[in-house]
Structures are given as C-alpha cells and as structure tokens.
Point group: C2
Chain length 405, copies 2
C-alpha cells in the first residue's frame, strides 16, 4: 500500500532523507520499544536500524517501513498499530499471535480512558454500527464460520471438540442455563444468523421472537426458518431490541451487549424488566473486562464501531440492579473464546484466496490482525467472556443446584 506516498506530509519527510533513519527516528523507536519492554521482540526501521528487547531472544520483528508509520505510533500506538499493519506500512515477521500475546502481556491492564464519553446510540446509529460489520456479506462469513453460522464464543466440552460441535454445545449450554421448558416464550436480542433461535425451537420446543438490526442476517435467518419448517415457532424481527413488546419466560442475548454501549444499558434493563415474566430467567453472554476500560481504538474504528466490552459490575449496576434482578450464575469462558478464534483464524487463512477476491489486501490484513489480536486478548486474560444468568429477585422458581442442568 503506497498510495499515501504522494501526500504533502510524506513529501515533507522526504526532504530530510527518506532512506536513512535520524536520531529522532531512533529515539521514537526506543520509546515504542520501552512501552512493551518486557516483550521479547525486535523493532526495526526501514534502513535496517534495530532495537532488541533485553527480555530474551526475540520471537518476532516489528518492521516500520517508513517514517510516517513510525510517527503515527508515537502519536497513538493503540490506534496506529492496526492502521499501519492494515496498510502494510508495518510488517510483523514472525508469528502474529505470539507477537500480539507478548504485547498484551507487556501492557498489563489497559490504561483507563475516563475522558472518553459513552455516547448513546439511537436506533439509526446502532443500525449503522451493526451494518458496518455484520453486513459484509453472508458469503464472506460462510467461508470461515461453522456450519451453523454462529459468530460468538463457542463452548468446547473437551479438547477434541470441533468448532461445529462446540457451537452446538454452546447453544445447548445456554438453553440448559436458561432451563427452557417446551411451550415457553423466549425473546432473543441480537440473533445473528438465527442459529440459536432455531436451535431453541427445534431442541427445546419453545417459541422464539428474535430481534436483529442486520438486514442481511435477518433475511438469511428467515430463509432458514422456512426451510426447516420452524416458521410457526420462530419469528425473526428486523428491528431494534428496544422496540420489543410482550412477555417472555426467558430473555437471552448472546454477543449483543458489547454493541449496546454503557449509555444504553439502562434501556436494556428496562426492556428486560417490562418483558420478563415473574418466574422468568435471563442470560447475557458478552465480551467483558476485569476492569472498566475502552476497547482498543483501532478495533472501534475499523472492526466494531460503537462497541464497548463492559466490566461485570457495569452490567450489574446499570442493567440488573435497578430492577432488582438477581444474579444466579456467572461463568467466565475466555479460554473458549481463544479456541474459537483459533478455529476461525485457521479457516480464514484456508479461505484467504476467496476472501482476497472479495475484498482488498488491506481488508484481509485488518481481519487477520483483528482475529489474532482477539485471540491474544483472551489467551492473555486481557479480555473475558462472561455468561450471566439472572432471575427476578422475587422469583420462587430459581434452580436448586447446577446439577439439575
């Protein structure tokens, strides 16, 4: 990617000799290296200048191919790591996943950015944010997701489980945690391509009203419901979850909360409170954090606009507490998301020829980085995957033990 060579800013740099690095360049590289000093990495400039961590033999080399890439990292490394990698201005020579894991470990807990405001997304903004990611085309996702098209963390009962098995096991785990009974009414907020809604109807005999604001996903889900003869049990609604009405015995949301944003948590709580029956159960499955903090800015910019993975207490305080909803069970499945991403990455790489034909090289590099970075964030404990089961505080039908599942 050399399109930006002609920009005025880059021309200005050219004057000071683009081929040899300056003392300032080397100083900048040293600052970058210092910020992840404990990661065993080599940092290199375009002219061959290198800095190597004293933490051990380098597992990879991070190569800045021009001064502009280097200076952008000094300005905001969290954002421009992704930008420059995506554009090919920074290359990683060595294993991408291992490199990212080393960086996450070196960072430790993410810096807090309390000055970033938590914007509320109106229905149109939420739709735009979702469209950016989920409407990339069902053909694209079909190339590397499992057979059921489940684009959330799977659950691997054993180390031998395949991704296909693990996605089915995850759906069954969700149903068992919700203790679904035949004939009950389920509302699903954010239903993806409809796999969980169809699974619940088929295996547990419940009726499901499933909401999604991704038109491509809803169209696919409706076709599937028709093909499987489940149209009488599953209604796919092309609308924002906040517009839902009616009552339900179970409320489930898998992989949507990350897209809701803190400012709209109270609205989600109100929706749950007005729809959940007295003996109802709920399950929220979401990417979260140990401490409140912002998502990586590059991921927010390029991959998941508007996304915010919350700490548990932010969900409890803003969604559950105001309505006296009672936490019954929490499970952290971060290792399962690492393995899910490993499987997705393998399939993505296997399909890279087809994907490159659909998009450009920047897109492929961006997605490689996103998938590897996500995997690294779960293996290193930087990000969490929480399943939270709750009921009304006054419910008299909460389960006795976990053994009942």
């Amino acid at each position: 990617m050399r399109a930006s060579v002609a920009t005025p800013q880059h021309r200005a740099f050219r004057k000071v000799n683009p081929t040899a690095s300056t003392r300032l360049d080397r100083w900048a590289l040293a600052r970058i290296q210092e910020s992840v000093a404990s990661a065993p990495l080599r940092f290199a400039l375009w002219d061959g200048f290198e800095l190597v961590s004293t933490a051990g033999p380098p597992i990879a080399t991070i190569l800045f191919k021009n001064r502009r890439a280097l200076s952008s990292w000094v300005w905001d490394s969290e954002l421009h790591f992704g930008e420059t990698y995506m554009r090919g201005a920074v290359e990683i020579h060595g294993d991408l996943l291992a490199t990212l894991e080393a960086i996450y470990r070196a960072f430790g807990a993410s810096q807090r950015r309390p000055w970033l405001r938590h914007e509320s997304h109106n229905v149109q903004e939420a739709k735009d944010n979702v469209h950016r990611h989920y409407d990339l085309g069902n053909d694209f996702y079909r190339l590397w997701l499992d057979r059921e098209m489940v684009y959330t963390c799977a659950y691997f009962p054993s180390s031998e489980s395949s991704l296909e098995e693990a996605q089915v096991a995850k759906m069954d785990l969700v149903c068992r945690k919700l203790r679904l009974n035949a004939g009950e009414r389920v509302v699903e907020a954010g239903c993806g391509w409809g796999s969980l809604a169809l699974f619940m109807a088929k295996r547990y005999g419940v009726s499901v009203q499933a909401f999604n604001i991704s038109s491509e996903q809803i169209a696919y889900a409706r076709d599937r419901a028709k093909a499987e003869g489940l149209g009488h049990l599953v209604e796919f609604v092309d609308d924002d979850y906040r517009n839902m009405t009616g009552q339900c015995d179970a409320f489930v949301s898998v992989g949507m909360l990350e897209h809701v944003g803190l400012a709209d948590f109270p609205a989600l709580g109100r929706v749950i409170n007005r729809s959940l029956a007295g003996s109802g159960r709920g399950l929220l499955h979401f990417i979260g954090r140990n401490q409140p903090g912002q998502l990586n800015p590059w991921i927010r910019k390029r991959i998941f606009p508007g996304a915010y993975p919350p700490a548990l207490r932010e969900v409890f305080e803003r969604v559950l507490e105001p309505h006296n909803l009672s936490v019954l069970d929490v499970e952290n499945l971060r290792l399962h998301y690492a393995r899910t991403l490993e499987a997705w990455r393998r399939r993505f790489d296997d399909a890279s020829r087809e994907i490159t034909a659909m998009f450009d090289e920047d897109f492929v590099r961006a997605w490689r980085l996103y998938l590897a970075g996500s995997q690294a964030s779960f293996t290193t404990g930087f990000m969490q995957l929480f399943q939270v089961v709750f009921a009304r505080g006054s419910s008299t039908t909460i389960p006795w033990t976990r053994a009942h599942r």
Copy 2:
C-alpha cells in the same frame, strides 16, 4: 417483659388511659398496616382493636401489647420490630417464619439509606464486633449447629441431605471450586471454629494458615487440630486478616466479608493481591444483596454489629478490580441458606430449655426472630448467598470447564 413500665415516658402515656386505644393509636396502626398492605396479616392493639389486610385471610396476628411499642414502630419500624418482639411488647400469634416472609414480600426491595456512612473498623472495633456475636460461648453454638460447628450456609446436594451432610458438602464444594492440590498453601480469612481449615488439610492435603479474631473460636479450633493430629498442616492465627503475610496458592473466606464493611473492602483486596501466587485462586462466600442497601438496623444493633451484606458489584469494584483479579465463577445459593436456617431453627427450638437456662427470655426471642427473619429473607429473595471464584487476570491456569471439578 414489664421492666419498662416504670419509665417516665410510659407513665405519661398512662395518664391518657392505658387500657383503651385512642384515635391516634388506631391511626398509627393503620399506617403500619398500610406499609405492608399486601401481606395477609391481622394487626391488633392491646384493647382488642384490630385491622385486617384486604389481601386475604390473615395468616397471623401481630399484637401490640402497649402504646410505647406501637409508637416506636411509627418512629422506626425496621429497628423496633425487633426491639419490641425481643422484649415481648409485640407478640406474633401464628407462624413466625410465614409472617416474616409475608412482610418481606410486601416490602419489596429494601429502601436505600445512602445517608448512612460506611464506617471503617479498625482492628479493635472489628474484634469487638466479632466478640459480640461469636463469643457467646461454644456451648451455646454446639446446641444447635452441626457436628462440625459450621456457622455459614450449607450446600444440600439433594433434598434428602441432612445438615451434617450439607455442611461437609459445602466444604467440599469450596475445595473443588478452588481446585486444591495436595501440598498447596491456603490462607483462610475468618475461619470460625476451624472446620473448613481442618477439612482442607485432611481431605485435600494442603497446608492452611487460618485467621480469626474470635478468641473462643480459635481456642476451640486449636484443640481440634491437636486432637486430630493436624497441627503440622493447619496453623490457627488469633489475629486480624489484615495482618497476614506470606504467599498462598488459594485464598478463601467463608462468611467473613459481611463483617468487613464497604470501607475496608480495598484493604481486603490489597491483602489478597499481596498474598496470592500468580497461578492462585480465590473464593469469597458471603451474604449479599441484589442492590446496595443497609442491613436491617435491628440485626445490626442486636445480632451483627458492623455488618454489611454487599451487592456483587460493590465487591467487584472495591476488592477485585483494583488488582485486575478476574471473576471466573459466581453461584447464588440463597435457597441453601434458607434450608440451613430451617435446620438451625429446628435444633434451636429443640434446645430451647438449655438455651433459656444460659441466657434470658429476651435473648431467646431475639435469636428466634433473627433466625426466622434470616430464613425469610433468603426464601423471599430479599438476601442472597454468593460464592465468587476469582484468579489473577494474567493467570494461565484457570479451569477449562466446570466439569473438571
């Protein structure tokens, strides 16, 4: 209990005719009845005047035996319900537990009392608070606790489990959640009469350093360790948990957090952070709430001075988050505490002759109310019992699934 008849305040009331209730008395009774209008109860005054809920046939009668008791409820019913019941100035004719459950249900969520400050307990205050409750005498607790002297929520694997079995099952559940391995070092904060510490050493082969500031309990625990030949594995330390030093592979605290208080949560977090090994696990077992709120003031005054059962998010925010500790698992066992209290109450009643010989009637009534009220708070969902398992955010040895236990 008529000792207070001679107080000036009561003499003043006498002037207006103690035998017949006035319009003001009846107005006060109506306000009290209204505050729990949906509870099917009869409220009666000393002269036979009655008010019956329209919610259904009354399950019990709450009888005010004098005007002083009535007016104290108008002033602060949460406190004086307990005070007047304890002194015999208010009688409950009917099932005590069912009455308290009806009241809890009618109250709904407890009113918040944000103006109450959260005082920090220095080591001496903490010791005094603990002494008030836990040093009532081992002979007293032996009369109605299980064989192992476990004074925390049990875990009933099935509806047939006895209290003795359920306390052993609880200790085993805690050990399995902590995934103890032989030879590991465990720190226990608040060890009661030492049953869990001894169990962990005996069944799981770990060494335990167990802290408690109740001298009576520590003396009992040390005798037991000696008698069972476990002195080489279990050290009972007569000191505040905040004075602990050294490292551990597992940190466990069962039924202590309620006595720590919000203001000292950060200190608990620091103790955990400085003592837990990199691959260590922790478990906090505590009475909690769905929403932040104060403990009933009578319980604080008479039963558990300084106690505060927290909402989960208060624990997460103040104990775990500052040190990037990661929540792995949460289980709500409130129904198990209801059953535990049911068993304690049965044994307490069976031993009432012995207990009355040890203390006075006020004490017995107070404890009957405390035990029944606690049971009612768990059956109605007013209070929760949480077990929280955590590890360091960077731990690479967190469990894969729950099935490994």
